[in-house]
Amino acid sequence: MSAKISVEPFGESFECADGETILDAALRNGFFLKYGCRHGGCGTCKVVMSEGDVEGEGSSFAISAGERADGVVLACSSRPATDCTIDVDSMELTEDEFRAGDQVASFEVELASLERLTHDTCALSLALQPPASIAFTDGQFVNVVVPGTDMVRSYSLANAPEDSDRIDLIVKLLPGGAFSALLESGLHVGDSLTLHGPLGELRLRLSHRKVLMVAGGSGLAPFLSMLRNLERRGRSREIDLVFGARTRADLYLVGELERLVAALPGVTFVPALSEPDDELWTGERGLVTEVIARRYTSLDGYDAYLAGPPAMIEASIPLITGLGVRPANVHFDAFVSSRR
């Protein structure tokens, strides 16, 4: 049985087919709603249900219990059980954007280089085929289609927006991951891939506050893009970048980070090892949460940005807000791996 979805504040409605998500139905009917990962992991597609009922879930990262209680649902993972009215005001879409439909583009890319950064991390550089340029903001991600499947994987761009003719990604190889398997064996320089994007709302917001960036795993990518963008634009901010890894061998692109720090006054790079196997390691030791707790007695007057494994983000948020960052000033990208 199909359901009717009414959309406020635009006074528009459309039909949602049986089994279809609200997001898919909106896009199919030529309307645009903001989205990111499309599988309940990022929270970009939050809408308020003002009337009606839906079935669906989504990760606790993407949506908090409090929000759920306030009627917030994820449009990408909600299927209507009745006719519904949703309020999309918080997406800050103009009416024109809403009515223009999905403008998120598809790109054909060619793998231009593939470099091992650590035993389980790769840097990919993808050359855009016509259309040979992508307009994105530093902090956004793309959804890469896993060849031979209809699955997508989300990765942040690591290059500066000015380098719009290519897409640099940092990929963490997860044991058993579909894309990882491909990278290990089947993917070669010159091969073609399809991706969709750019997506996501993470960006370095203008503010009077200092910035704390916390990266773990492949989460360095969006911060690299941000720092590279600042460098290109010749402006700096007061930024502390804490980069957590297990051992010395798990740190990557340290040389590039040191170069950026030298070019950007006010930026501090803090590598932290949770299991420093190297006697000569003079940097911070411990989990990023331990390092933050040790380095800062107060984070009042900071904006915080987090990217990396969900566990790191989950542990960091209460610590950071406890030290004084306003919850509204904590921004993060948690790529919860797809459960599909």
Binding site: E92, R205, L206, S207, H208, R209, R326, A328, N329
Partner: protein
Amino acid sequence: MAGKRSLIDVHEKSKGYDWDYPDTDPKYPSRFIIPKTGKDPFRMLVRDYVRMEEEKDARTYGFLDGALRMRVAETAEPRFMEALKLTLPDLTNAEFQAVSGVGMIARGIGNQELRQGYYAQMLDEVRHTQLEMSLRRYYVEHAPDPAGWDVAQRALYQHPGGHVSLALFQNFNTGDVIDAVINLNVVVETAYTNILLVATPETAVANGDHALATTFLSIQSDEARHMANGYGTLFAVLQDESNVPLVNEALERHFWHSHRGLDALVGWQSEYGAVHRPWAYKDQWQEWVGDDFIGSYIDKLTDFGVEAPTRLAKVAHDVSWIHHSTALALAAIWPLNFWRSDVMGPADMEWFDSHYPGWAEVYGPFWQGHAAMADPSSGRLMLQELPSLPPFCQVCQLPCIMPRPDRSEIRVFEHGGRNIAVCSEGCEWIFHRWPKAYEGRKSFWQKYHGWDLADVILDLGYVRPDGVTLMGQPSVSLERLWTIEDIRRIGFEIKDPLAS
């Protein structure tokens, strides 16, 4: 349906006509290049617009009837009502200056689509003025102490607090039209009206004034369109690169000046005009100005070359203090006010110190002294305790004790043969960059230099109908009110601190 269609056609067609007002010698020629293309941000037929606004008016006026039955004016916290005697006329001044401001903008903007939006905004601003005047009439008739409400607008323009409002809102209608848009639509309406018109109603309700809350929320429902006017205009002028530095300079100026005026007065009303405080002003500022205006609105415009005001961090810092300093000044000059000030008791002091750590040390002793001198039997005024009166800033008109009296950033310099004071580096920059806009203003102290305080009060006309009792009082709960005689007995003489 056919009727509607043809109306839309007419609307569209009217925007196709293009004209310039035949003003060969405009008073304020624009330095900006204003493109002919741009989108009508209102996108509404006059007929639909009028119907919608009429409905909103009906609801608000209907509420005033209800307020009468609910005895809102009688039961609201007196402290809240009293502070409103300054801030509501301040706002009405803003509306009034905005009426003439959007008139000037519509005339000078030379872009038919954008012009539509400003025509409609002018109707809105008239509506706001009328809503506020009706509310004030209700207060005149029903407030337990109407003294001050009856003369509020005239009283305002003579009072130092009114000078803050005049200095700020004159920028709506003097100067370059795009400057006016950046001040009115971009800074005041986009950055600041949410604190004023969404957060303040919460404070009003917490202090029992539902009438004010309803009126403000009704006004705020128009602001989204005014913000759209500002965005539409900004977006249009940013298409021409040569406008970018002009936009940034205007933003720098008006962001600083609006911060001084609005953070001082709105912060004062919401914390010192309240017994119950649902939030701290600095937190509202972080949310609406810091996160929404800078972190989202301006952030999106950085792609077009717009930059954050260079004094942003300084503003963010001073927001924690300037309304406390304003409160101190307004309480110190209480005999010169046309409303009753109040004593801050232990519960107030505790709230202030816990929300603004360090407050007690800086402001605590003043408020203790104020309480001790509140009764006329004390025969003393805080003014007597000051080494000298603080000069008023030639730009923003705040007393030069900012951000805090113990860390004043006052600067005094000679200009055109007289001493000029400014409260800060920001106001000093504005003064020297646009001296013509500010040099003419005479200061309150200069006008009354050498006068006895009692004569100043009589000259201002701030006495009650009996001719002897002051409108201004240091507390809302006095057994006996202060009179002109009490003041004359003290024999305090006004001395202009800048007189040479």
